[in-house]
């Protein structure tokens, strides 16, 4: 089973004059500091919608979307979308991360033992790049999975961690129901994933009908936005590898951040869970797993 996915990358914000009235309302509701990034993301999405021949008002699309996905880094955004809508397609996910130092001790939160073992076998020069690539693969898989209410990044496992184009599955469903591809995009890693309805994951079970609420997905970007606003740190400076210690000069800031996230996403953390968390990526994973 294959699906052709188109990705659009841009650094240019959408011109405000080109916004629809609903988009203008959305923009007006945003804090000033995130407006430029929002316009860049909307520009990427608008370009993609144009190419795919879909209605251009970006407010008509809610994420997760069965056919579309969106990600951003500082000053750039990528929108990805399936060229054709097919019944077998369950979801699309995209993730983009700028190159950075990667701490080995964070891999336990998103890689399984086999993947970690493969990563450990690489020379030091290649390890950081591959670790970041696998992070983007896992994020893309998570975003593509419409049934991710109770999953965390580590629940997604690649059949061959070394493959830059390959298949993946979740622990809950043994058959491979995901395809993914990774590539370099300037100084960043880009991964795109697609979820398919497998033999045991019927369209009914993976894509709830209208009577069933669509599962909410908490992305790293959403968590980063909240933290940016709570701690008054530019969202561009927040990455999955950012440590909580770097963010919070005093420990009560962590409490503020944790309470705010729980209030925002209507969830509950325990002390034990928070003790295990050292990076923002892990924190986002915890929020995603709990919501």
């Amino acid at each position: 089973m294959t699906v052709r996915v188109l990705a659009v990358w841009t650094r240019q914000p959408l011109v405000v004059d080109a916004l629809t009235s609903r988009e203008r309302e959305r923009l007006a509701a945003l804090p000033q500091r995130v407006r430029r990034q929002w316009l860049i993301s909307r520009h990427a999405l608008r370009l993609l919608l144009g190419v795919l021949g879909l209605p251009l008002d970006t407010t008509r699309y809610a994420f997760p979307h069965r056919r579309l996905s969106l990600t951003h880094i500082e000053g750039a955004a990528v929108a990805a979308g399936a060229v054709r809508d097919t019944r077998q397609l369950a979801g699309v996910g995209v993730d983009l991360e700028t190159d950075r130092e990667a701490r080995v001790d964070t891999t336990r939160f998103f890689l399984d033992e086999r993947e970690r073992s493969w990563l450990a076998s690489l020379p030091d020069t290649a390890r950081a790049t591959e670790q970041l690539r696998l992070w983007t693969v896992k994020e893309a898989l998570f975003k593509a999975d419409p049934d991710n209410r109770h999953t965390v990044l580590r629940d997604y496992t690649t059949l061959d961690a070394a493959a830059h184009r390959g298949r993946a599955r979740t622990r809950q469903h043994r058959e491979a129901v995901f395809g993914y591809a990774s590539t370099r995009l300037r100084d960043a890693q880009l991964s795109i994933a697609a979820a398919f309805h497998g033999e045991t994951r019927t369209p009914q079970s993976i894509a709830p009908g209208r009577e069933t609420p669509v599962p909410s997905v908490i992305t790293f970007d959403e968590v980063a936005d909240r933290i940016s606003s709570t701690l008054s740190i530019p969202v561009e400076k927040l990455t999955p590898q950012t440590t909580l210690r770097e963010l919070a000069a005093d420990s009560f800031l962590l409490v503020e951040m944790a309470v705010d996230l729980q209030e925002e996403f209507d969830t509950i953390f325990t002390q034990n869970e928070l003790r295990e968390i050292t990076t923002l990526g892990e924190l986002a994973g915890l929020v995603g797993a709990k919501v």
Binding site: V255, E256, A258, V259, Q262, E263, F269, L274
Partner: protein, 195 residues
């Protein structure tokens, strides 16, 4: 009136604790969504700041300046119980701490030769403290639906045990400064009528 070194230290300690309480509740208030609890915690934040002002004025009226004290009782608290992980834990710590404050102020009121100006300050503050314990208790009752009564009870028990440990440590460190409050056993409980 002449304040002994220990008198001045204790009144300054109260002032410092109230300042730290205000800083704590200010930050909690900042994280809360709109609603009754946001209003109550904001009120609490303002009360704590006022209490610090009352102690500053009280000390000045007695002819002194408050001492600058580093560290705070609350810091030891968080060290002992760990950082609160959620809003329920913040409220549970608050309840245990407020009971401790009321117990300590009661003990001071019972001490012989407490200066009327000090007594007046404590009594003024106690009126607010009673409300603090009540609203926090009500908030925790409300939270039972979300967090479960058992978890709340367990959390309160855990924090109460930590509170006793911290208070014992504080007494071991500063006990000689508060001997004048009476040499009977330290009363860790709060009179039922107050809560």
């Amino acid at each position: 009136m002449t304040l002994s070194e220990n008198d001045l230290w204790l009144l300054s300690f109260y002032r410092s604790s109230e300042i730290n309480g205000a800083l704590f509740f200010g930050r909690v208030a900042r994280t809360l969504r709109g609603g009754p609890l946001q209003a109550d915690v904001t009120h609490h934040f303002a009360d704590e700041a006022n209490h610090a002002k009352y102690w500053t004025r009280c000390i000045e009226d007695l002819g002194y300046n408050a001492e600058k004290l580093s560290g705070a009782y609350q810091d030891q608290y968080l060290e002992a119980v760990g950082l609160p992980a959620n809003l329920m834990e913040v409220m549970a710590i608050t309840q245990v701490f407020e009971k401790r404050v009321i117990g300590q102020y009661h003990r001071h009121l019972r001490a012989p030769d407490t200066h009327p100006r000090v007594r007046q300050t404590i009594e003024t503050i106690m009126e607010d403290e009673r409300w603090h314990v009540k609203y926090v208790r009500d908030a925790l009752q409300e939270m039972a639906q979300k967090y479960g009564q058992e978890l709340i009870d367990d959390t309160l028990a855990r924090f109460t045990a930590a509170d006793e440990e911290v208070y014992a440590k504080t007494l071991a460190e500063y006990g000689e400064r508060i001997v004048f409050l009476g040499d009977g056993p330290v009363d860790l409980s709060v009179p039922a009528a107050e809560v």
